[in-house]
Symmetry: C2
Subunit: 319 residues, 2 copies
């Protein structure tokens, strides 16, 4: 059986026709063209799905369903997109609408959760019994997959790992959610850039100024400066890694997953990030002194890139 996976973003609709093992047979995309009505966006999703099937020469009977990863809060049981700030949708019956236009069964998931499902089943955590994906991008997103199932909770709301408070102090940085000291205000790419700017202000001598003059201040600036031996850049990376470690260790102490996969812009640092992170996390894990070394959580980078979304969505449809 084949499955259609759709990753609905604010800029593009991506879709793929996917095999049971998570391999992509065919993929395509369309611009989301916001703002426009939910119905118009869904008409394009349906058309894209039918086009992929046609291009692959496969009939409706060969496709087990459509899975959609959607930004915001969805209720899979009723097929409703309850609220999406990015799409400006509220209580839209996406499941029914898409089913009417394609004749296929539709499953809905939050986009971060669905991408985590893709990584857990077919990417960085393939074969693992449990995985948590942490996305270090504009914010900190997350998805938890236990025994092949996404953790969506009673409300169907996403696993909002980014809004776990790590620092409940009154002077902690303010989060977009309205609280202070969330994981997101320390470990997003946005946070790394904030820390970089603060260090540049305090250190006019830092190499980071030259690097920023060329490319602007971005999530690579401090890492590049550290690689060149710059002290202020090194301190920024150390601070960033410290906070990321606090959040990752909390996730381990709660879930003890087999794998934690990092994705998003900052994760492109690969081993530059992973090596100090693993070292910082180790002593923070509860019971690390007597833990079975073979049962320790592996901290890795995600491997599927943007395809995690469409693959995970297809795997949700298969569920």
């Amino acid at each position: 059986m084949l499955y259609l996976g759709v990753d609905l973003g604010g800029t593009n609709i991506k879709a793929a026709l996917v095999q049971e093992n998570g391999e992509i047979l065919r993929e395509g995309s369309r611009p989301t063209k916001l703002p426009r009505p939910a119905e118009a966006v869904c008409d394009d999703i349906a058309a894209l799905c039918l086009t992929l099937m046609e291009e692959a020469g496969c009939g409706r009977e060969e496709v087990g369903g459509i899975g959609v990863g959607c930004p915001g809060t969805v209720d899979d049981a009723t097929g409703m997109v309850r609220y999406s700030n990015n799409l400006a949708w509220k209580n839209f019956p996406m499941g029914q609408y898409l089913q009417d236009r394609t004749g296929l069964r539709v499953r809905l998931g939050n986009d971060a959760n669905v991408a985590a499902l893709g990584e857990a089943v077919a990417g960085c955590a393939k074969g693992a019994d449990s995985a948590v994906v942490v996305t270090l991008g504009t914010g900190v997103g997350g998805g938890v997959v236990l025994d092949g199932k996404m953790l969506v909770g009673h409300s169907g709301a996403a696993s909002e790992l980014g809004h776990m408070v790590l620092n409940a102090a009154a002077n902690a940085p303010l989060c977009t959610c309205g609280r202070r000291g969330c994981f997101e205000v320390y470990s997003s790419a946005t946070a790394l850039i904030r820390m970089t700017r603060e260090a540049m202000e305090a250190h006019p001598e830092s190499l980071m100024h030259q690097l920023a003059a060329r490319d602007g201040v971005n999530g690579k600036t401090a890492f590049d400066a550290k690689a060149a031996g710059d002290a202020a850049g090194t301190a920024v990376v150390e601070e960033y890694v410290h906070w990321l470690a606090v959040g990752v260790a909390n996730i381990i102490n709660i879930f003890f997953p087999q794998v934690i996969g990092l994705s998003g812009g900052v994760a492109n640092q690969g081993e530059n990030l992973l090596v100090p992170l693993r070292k910082a996390v180790e002593p923070m894990v509860f019971g690390h002194d007597f833990a079975d070394p073979e049962k320790k959580t592996r901290i890795v980078c995600c491997t599927l890139g943007y395809r995690a979304g469409v693959i995970g969505a297809a795997l949700l449809a298969k569920d």
Copy 2:
């Protein structure tokens, strides 16, 4: 079919013969009599189980297995107690040992997780799809139950909710785990007593001094003072509830469970604790502005008391 549930504590071994629905048919207990060898403790567990069966007049063929809730880290798959600080056991093959002496299949779980399973399936969260139990005792323990299954993670280690850092500041109180600012150092009964003592020192006029002269300083002192209108006692309760709310809100943002059940000494405050807690948690929940009121997490007190352990253990054996 019936199941035997054992709650192995540092002071007492409690056991019960339990029906499939979680109702207790017969129960009993023996002193644990530590320190003594693991084998001797397990001989008493086996004898207690066989006695309960005999007293109930039920044969081996009517009993589906024994479940044991054990303090420390267990590996249910291999039947090993990997490490228990309370019992001073390390890598003891409890499952095999008990099976040899009873002829019954044995399942192992961490005691806090197993008690959470009891509350989730047969207690405060009966009928819920997901529940998190937070025990406010000497430390902060926890157990997570999703679709009737305990979350034990890849390592089999407990869901160590108490060792989620809420305040990563360098001046945060030190936890017994070696880190600072854990949920446990703010929300355990021990923490409440520490806050009470600090407030008493700062406020010689407080009613708490009179209350403490009678009963000593305990987890009730500040609550009782608040009930009598004492300002310093009220401030202690407000501070305690604030931190408990931060931890509970983190748990909600991660799991969005249907129910959070509080147990342990502080939970005996019942509505005195729950009313201000629910009020403090509400604005901390991610997406609370647009959440479906019917899908909100219910925050309640646990209902099974000490029986949660034996009932949960029996339900584990049933699994």
